[in-house]
């Protein structure tokens, strides 16, 4: 009975909906439709009925249609037409506006009964299916005998649907078939058809668990021979039973182990799930996890793999020990070419890595890394380089955590320093830098590697990184010497001039370098590889080709030189800085002979000077910028001994140390937060199932099992109603208006629900009172207004649903119109206040890496630039203010704003619709203490950029207002 009431009380949108069909046909004339329905032609009848259905679905029902269908469709002898008629009945409103059942339904009832006893088995089946969707006991009651009769029909199609019908009816209206469980149990005992058996079994499981268990126990030997669908249902039952009664677990664990061997992937997967939910014993978990791994290896579908990985990740929280054993199996998923899978696998592997298995894991990663080198020719470069980056990062984090693998990692990774494609080399140099800082014992080894690779590095930022490492960590005289020589030969013959005559010397330098660093025999001719391509990664080959043509003369010579010649002054600065550091280091040796020191210093200064000269000469492609020039000059002065050298040697390393520390702290705090989330709060209720089941029945709220919870949350949506909050109430009309209205706004993900309370403040009855709403922005009303009648002083709550499709500030406005009852048909209208839908309701702070931020920043089309206009005098206060009012997260390191007098910060947030919002703050403190600068907002869509901009402007002015 309750469902009957529900059906009438709620609006069309909240009613159950089984069918949605989109059709663009213009609404047709009702008479025309009726004429078609009456016609004898089958085609036009069916067509007209289809139209009627889509009109009903689009909310424009044809009046009197139901009767037409009853008269002309349901008694028709064509099976297909009658079936279509049932679909119409399914969606049509079975209750009148007064909430009572329509009188036509009695006729319908009779028609359905005829269908249920029709000789055509498919007609019966369809009718039974339709019966499942009826919510009225009154309609169902007379049909029960026919439905029961169908359980014995000789055709399995009928039987299987009959069971389904019995099931749904029993669930909804138990009193209609009180003996349904017995009935179905008997049915199940005799049934041979798999589908019917399954349906019957499911019915027993859900309606009368004991009988289901009974059946399961009686057939326990046959389970391995059952069909896939039935096995799955059996597993579900086992889950339910064991949850309700853990003592019986033992009986079923055997079944599950049997089913784990099933040839069907679906069954194996489900068995593993079930096993995990039943037992947390390591053996069980291991068996389940092994199954996952096996599926991971055998299933080719990416979706399955990803979901399997998710399940394994779930296991990690409680059972990481088991996963540690299986990590090698999990790593097999790396075979898949899919990046998402690879990423997830590597993440997972990194999570369960321990001292014991780290060697193996890194070994696999290394192998994969080697594979990427050979794959590069055949596969798409992008994915390979992405994957390579991923691997490098993984090895990086592994060796940070486990120093014992750092050594091997360095030797593997340093080969990639010369990688020219993508950012892999950059990642490697970052890694190398960190290793140098962390592990003193590895330093000399690392330095050797870097020195070895230096001549072949072509990427400017990698060169800079390498130079920094050489400059900062070369401490032993031998290292210093080698580094010094390597750089000098990298820079080549001085002075830096452009031209053919230099080539000879360049080559010589190159030879020297080769002799020192790479004793391998060098060939002057292009090497031809086995597959017939030219090997091109060796520097001198390029040198040869470069020497032949003067057009790419800048590229000739060692990479550092060619970079310098191309006008990369930042590299030049790095060279000078590094030389300066080396010189200072040499100076600091106690036993260094002054002659030697002076010679070194002179050479270094020469390099600096020639760089300066080159930058200002006409050879340079671009003139040197002031900043670089300044830095180089300061190098020279330092070497001259005019300024203190400590800052060069110590501070930079200290700063780097600090960066590493901060990063570590950040990771730790993130890990702690994560751990906190997993922790059970102190005040959490502990649930003793055994104790509870004695005093209450089994079906208490807390006992609702996981499956059902998932189902209810899926069908009804998350029940995160924020509840009734006074702050969310907006007054829509004045107190003295004839109609007072206020709205309570609830924002769900994609819906805004307005509960509008309307009160008639007059002494007249208001008829046809309608709340008419309209929207501005990306909002859509999804219902037509209904009209109500309000007596004097009466109140009513009207609910309106509004759909949102993107993050944007929207405005809802409207009016209330009404007629005053009585002699004069006076009507009135009250204009409502606007309701502003706040963009902040959709924005949540997010985290994104700097590189992603930059790439998004470059990509996004919409930018909104807002000038800073504030009375705030404090930079960090201002940043706090902006993050607070935009609900965004600051990505930039904080803490030195006040010292520096300027602020550059990136903020990031994500909307519930998955849109990214980027904000950059560039603010400077003027000498008078006021702040000036810009806030730039970028996003993919215009809406966010504009709305956020408006928001910031508004908040700024508000903040100023009260002051």
């Amino acid at each position: 009975m309750s469902s009957v009431k529900l059906g009438t009380m709620t609006s069309a949108l909240e009613r159950q909906c089984t069918l949605l069909i989109h059709q663009d046909i213009a609404p047709e004339d009702a008479d025309e439709l009726k004429k078609h329905l009456e016609s004898g032609d089958l085609e036009s009848k069916a067509e007209a009925l289809k139209r009627a259905i889509s009109m009903q679905l689009s909310g424009e029902p044809v009046p009197g249609m139901l009767m037409m269908v009853i008269r002309y469709i349901l008694p028709h002898e064509d099976t297909h037409l009658r079936k279509l008629g049932l679909y119409y009945l399914e969606i049509v409103d079975k209750h009148g506006p007064d909430g009572k059942m329509l009188p036509e339904m009695i006729l319908v009832c009779n028609m359905i009964r005829n269908e249920l006893v029709h000789p055509n088995e498919y007609t019966r089946g369809c009718a039974l299916r339709f019966v499942c969707k009826i919510h009225d006991a009154e309609i169902l009651e007379p049909l029960i005998p026919s439905i029961r009769q169908n359980l014995e029909h000789r055709h399995s199609f009928v039987r299987r649907n009959a069971v389904l019908a019995v099931h749904t009816i029993f669930e909804k209206f138990e009193f209609l078939i009180p003996d349904a469980p017995e009935l179905v149990e008997e049915f199940l005992a005799e049934e041979g058809d798999l589908a019917a058996k399954r349906n019957a079994f499911v019915m027993l499981c859900q309606s009368d668990q004991d009988r289901g268990v009974n059946y399961l126990n009686n057939n326990i030997q046959h389970i391995p021979m059952w069909g896939e669908t039935l096995q799955l249902s059996a597993l579900e039952l086992v889950r339910r039973v064991c949850r309700a009664n853990p003592l019986e677990k033992g009986q079923y664990i055997k079944i599950i182990f049997v089913l784990l061997q099933s040839p069907s992937a679906a069954v194996v997967y489900e068995s593993a799930n079930t096993l995990i939910s039943l037992s947390s014993a390591p053996t069980a978990i291991r068996a389940a996890a092994q199954c996952y791994c096996q599926l991971l290896a055998t299933q080719s579908d990416n979706n399955i793999k990803l979901i399997l990985l998710d399940r394994i990740v779930d296991l990690r929280k409680s059972q990481s020990a088991v996963l540690q054993e299986l990590v090698m199996d999990i790593m097999r998923a790396l075979q898949s070419p899919n990046m998402d899978i690879r990423r997830k696998t590597i993440d997972l592997a990194m999570d369960v890595i321990t001292r014991r298995n780290v060697e193996e894991v890194v070994g696999v990663l290394r192998k994969e890394l080697v594979k990427t080198m050979s794959a590069e020719t055949s596969q798409e470069k992008d994915t390979v380089s992405q994957y390579r980056q991923l691997l490098i990062k993984a090895i990086h984090s592994a060796s940070v955590r486990f120093p014992e693998v750092a050594g091997t990692a360095v030797s593997v990774l340093s080969d990639f320093l010369a990688d020219t494609y993508g950012d892999a080399a950059t990642d490697v140099i970052i890694f190398v830098r960190e290793v140098c800082e962390r592990y003193e014992n590895l330093r000399s080894e690392v330095l050797k590697r870097v020195l070895f690779m230096l001549p072949s590095i072509r990427n400017a930022s990698v060169v800079r990184g390498a130079l920094w490492v050489l400059g900062s960590y070369s401490e032993q005289p031998q290292d210093v010497k080698e580094a010094f020589q390597a750089v000098l030969s990298g820079v080549g013959r001085l002075p830096l001039t452009n031209g053919l005559e230099e080539d000879g010397e360049g080559e010589e330098d190159e030879d020297e370098v080769e002799k020192e660093a790479k004793p391998a025999p060098k060939s002057k001719r292009p090497t031809i590889l086995a597959d017939g391509t030219y090997a091109s990664q060796i520097a001198e080959t390029e040198l040869v080709t470069g020497a032949g043509s003067s057009t790419n003369a800048e590229k000739t010579g060692p990479p550092i030189r060619s970079l310098l010649m191309a006008g990369e002054y930042v590299v030049g600065v790095a060279v000078c800085t590094m030389l300066t550091k080396l010189v200072l280091r040499v100076k600091s040796y106690d036993n260094a002979p002054p002659v030697f020191v002076n010679r070194v210093r002179a050479e270094a200064m020469l390099v600096c000077a020639s760089l300066l000269k080159f930058g200002k000469s006409h050879y340079a492609p671009v003139a040197i910028d002031d900043g670089s020039a300044e830095r180089i000059i300061s190098c020279i002065t330092t070497m001259n001994g005019e300024t203190n050298g400590d800052i060069w040697l110590e501070s930079s390393r200290e700063a780097f140390h600090e960066v590493i520390r901060v990063n570590e702290e950040r990771q730790e705090s993130a890990a702690q937060e994560k751990a906190k989330k997993d922790e059970t709060p102190v005040e959490e209720v502990i649930d003793f199932r055994l104790l509870r089941s004695r005093r209450t029945t089994a079906a208490t709220e807390a006992d609702v099992d996981v499956d059902e919870m998932a189902l209810t949350s899926a069908t009804t949506g998350s029940s995160t109603s924020q509840g009734f909050q006074l702050s969310r109430i907006t007054q829509l009309t004045g107190m003295s208006d004839p109609v007072y209205a206020e709205a309570h706004i609830t924002v769900h993900q994609y819906d805004i629900i307005l509960d509008v309370l309307v009160i008639n403040t007059t002494n007249d009855t208001l008829q046809n009172l309608t709340l008419e709403l309209a929207t501005m922005g990306d909002l859509r009303l999804c219902e037509r207004p209904q009209s109500y009648t309000l007596g004097p002083g009466d109140r009513k709550t009207i609910r309106a649903n509004i759909k949102v499709s993107s993050t944007e500030t929207g405005i809802i406005f409207g009016n209330i119109v009404y007629d005053v009852a009585g002699a004069g048909s006076a009507s009135g209208c009250v204009i409502l206040n606007d309701i502003h839908v706040d963009v902040m309701d959709y924005i949540e702070p997010g985290e994104v890496s700097d590189t992603d931020f930059r790439s998004m920043w470059a990509e996004f089309e919409w930018e909104n630039k807002v000038a800073v206009n504030t009375t705030c005098k404090d930079l960090s206060q201002f940043l706090d203010f902006v993050t607070e009012c935009t609900n965004m997260r600051c990505l930039t390191l904080r803490g030195i704003e006040e010292e520096s007098g300027y602020l550059a910060a990136n903020l990031y947030a994500r909307s519930v619709f998955g849109e990214d919002a980027l904000v950059n703050l560039s603010v400077e403190k003027a000498p008078d203490g006021s702040l000036a600068g810009y806030i730039r907002i970028r996003s993919k869509t215009q809406g966010i950029a504009l709305s956020l901009g408006d928001k910031i402007t508004l908040k700024q002015s508000q903040k100023q207002g009260p002051k």
Binding site: A12, E14, R15, Q16, C17, L19, L20, I21, H22, Q23, K50, T79, V117, P119, Y122, T123, C132, E152, R154, H155, L164, T168, D179, E185, E191, G192, A195, N199, V202, D210, N218, H222, M225, E228, T229, S233, L247, E248, G250, I253, F257, A266, Y269, T283, N302, I304, L306, I307, N338, D340, V706, D707, A710, S713, A714, T716, S718, Q749, D751, K803
Partner: protein, 576 residues
């Protein structure tokens, strides 16, 4: 493993069609479908998305997506299987061969939905079907329907023949003369009666004097038979051709119809036996298999045991059996061949100051004969002088009224006819309308009084016209949700918080406790809130003391054993 919805959308996100397999509100499903296009990224290589509550699994088909919305713990392997099948359906039903685009799907929307329904059950579980089966199911060609149609047609033709023949005969007889017509009518009636078409026979028997009417009736009978036969066919289908066709004597063509039915029933028997218990061979095979695996499994189980899992718990198998027995006990079939029931229903409204507003008693004597051999009977009934008390008796139209009024016998007008068997038949009906207060079975006096902070209610009853009342429940609404307190009570006092009422229960009221009272107090309430008071009871003493002294066979006068139940229950008994 639950599919909530199967849908087809365009790549741009427009929903072309969607079919739900669980109860979902429109706003919810539209919300879910609207969210979908925003969730799918462009450069993903997998085809599922998860949100907080649901998982979307989709598959691109040309310019469209086929989409399943499932619960998050749904079995992905299964769902992908389902999805693949759904994807194959689209081109199958496209009006332009194999072309799948928005337009063609829209045109074939219903056909596609029909097929979707075959793949997924209501409730969201997958059916194990392939395209071939789906095609069979949606085509809906039924062999049985054709057979039934053929039978029907042949019978129609036959009835037409018969009609023609009769018309011919009547025409001939009319020319012979009028007095034989009545006999013909009677004869026709008997013939049909023998065939079980009782009501028609009766009509014919009564109206058989007019020849025109007779002809019409015969026609109607023929028509009626052909339309009824369909239902009869149905009822006999499962049982394998029982009797009751009642037309076997009518023509040779009928024989064919019967034969056909036999064919059907035998084939149905075959179908059933096919679907019998699983083959025995399976168990033997299993034994061989389990030898090898048992050991490994035992190892696992042993280690589980070692880890503290309960592995060998006994499982009670008795629960189901017990429930069975209980269900069986609930239904007791009537043991006697002839069962009589006197049922009186009372409608009584008493105003709270005493006087009867309206009192009506309706009684029925129901006769139920289960043995057709004992259907030709007469009942010896005494009304116990109830007529003098204002009770009016009426008999069933088929019951001989004069026999009843003169001898107190209830029998059919036609002594040769038996009573219908199976269903209870009301043979005698009576009614009593009165305003006399002393006729009420129970007098109830209710005195609510309000003393400011609480209301005290005094109720007393007094046994009225009835001798004994059982299971008396007097329900007094109290209009507040506060728990009432009982000050004094004869009998049992129950507070029902759901209906906010007090139930005063008395297992039995008779001479020994012909008066009683109840006093309780509750929160301050308006006196009107305690009305209407409703009373329910049951009693064995009816207003019309009908006694059936004997039931005897008409043919031999031999007495037959019978059972008789008497009950008086109120339909409505309220004090307003």
């Amino acid at each position: 493993m639950v599919v909530l919805s199967a849908a087809v959308t365009t790549k741009a996100g427009k929903v072309v069609l969607s079919r739900q397999y669980r109860e979902l509100s429109r706003i919810r499903i539209e919300g879910l479908l609207a969210a979908f296009p925003k969730l799918i990224g462009t450069d993903r290589q997998h085809t599922y998305v998860e949100t907080d509550n649901v998982r979307y699994v989709y598959q691109p088909v040309e310019t469209l997506y086929v989409l399943l919305i499932t619960t998050k713990n749904s079995n992905i392997v299964e769902d992908l299987e389902t999805l693949r099948l759904l994807g194959k359906i689209l081109p199958e039903y496209s009006p332009r061969y194999g072309v799948v685009d928005e337009e063609s799907v829209m045109e074939a929307a219903f056909e596609i939905i029909y097929s979707f329904d075959e793949v997924i059950d209501w409730g969201g579980l997958r059916e194990n079907v392939d395209l071939q089966q789906i095609a069979t199911f949606t085509e809906m060609y039924s062999h049985e329907e054709r057979l039934v149609k053929m039978i029907q047609e042949s019978k129609m033709a036959e009835a037409k023949e018969e009609r023609k023949r009769r018309e011919e005969e009547i025409r001939r007889q009319r020319s012979d003369g009028g007095d034989r017509l009545g006999m013909l009518g009677n004869e026709l009636g008997k013939m049909l009666q023998a065939g079980g078409m009782g009501s028609f026979a009766q009509d014919l028997g009564l109206t058989g004097l007019q020849n025109k009417a007779a002809a019409n009736a015969a026609y109607a009978a023929a028509g009626g038979i052909s339309s009824d036969s369909y239902a009869q066919q149905q009822s006999t289908m499962g049982m394998g051709g029982g009797g009751g066709m009642g037309m076997s004597g009518m023509g040779s063509q009928m024989g064919m119809g019967m034969n056909m039915r036999n064919v059907i029933s035998s084939s149905s028997g075959y179908g059933r036996s096919n679907a019998g218990p699983p083959p025995v061979a399976g168990t033997a095979a299993k034994k061989g298999m389990s030898l090898g695996k048992g050991k490994k499994q035992d190892n696992i189980l042993d280690s589980l045991r070692a880890e503290g899992e309960v592995v060998d718990a006994p499982v009670s198998r008795l629960k189901g059996a017990k429930a069975n027995a209980a269900a069986a006990a609930a239904y007791v079939p009537p043991s006697q061949a002839i069962h009589l029931a006197t049922i009186e229903k009372l409608n009584l409204t008493v105003s709270r100051d005493g006087g009867i507003q309206n009192m009506e008693v309706k009684g029925d004597l129901m006769l139920r004969v289960t043995d057709s051999a004992k259907a030709g009977i007469r009942l010896q009934v005494s009304t116990g002088g109830a007529e003098s008390n204002g009770v009016q008796f009426r008999t069933h139209p088929n019951v001989d009224r004069t026999l009843f009024s003169t001898q107190g016998l209830i029998g059919l007008k036609d002594p040769k006819r038996p009573f219908p068997t199976g269903n209870p038949l009301g043979v005698l009906r009576w009614r009593l309308v009165t305003k006399e207060e002393d006729k009420a079975p129970l007098l109830i006096n209710c005195w609510p009084s309000d003393n400011g902070d609480e209301s005290v209610v005094n109720i007393e009853y007094e046994l009225g016209a009835s001798k004994e009342l059982r299971d008396v429940v007097i329900t007094i609404p109290i209009g507040t949700s506060s728990q009432p307190t009982v000050n004094q009570c004869d009998g049992e006092f129950v507070y029902n918080s759901r209906t906010q009422s007090v139930e005063w229960r008395l297992a039995m009221i008779d001479e020994s406790n012909s008066q009683g009272s109840l006093e309780f107090s509750t929160g301050p309430t308006d006196a009107n809130a305690f009305f209407p008071i409703n009373v329910s009871f049951s009693s064995k003493y009816t207003y019309a003391p009908i006694v059936v002294s004997q039931v005897a066979l008409v043919s031999s006068g031999e007495p037959v054993e019978f059972g008789h139940d008497v009950s008086l229950v109120p339909d409505t008994f309220s004090i307003v």
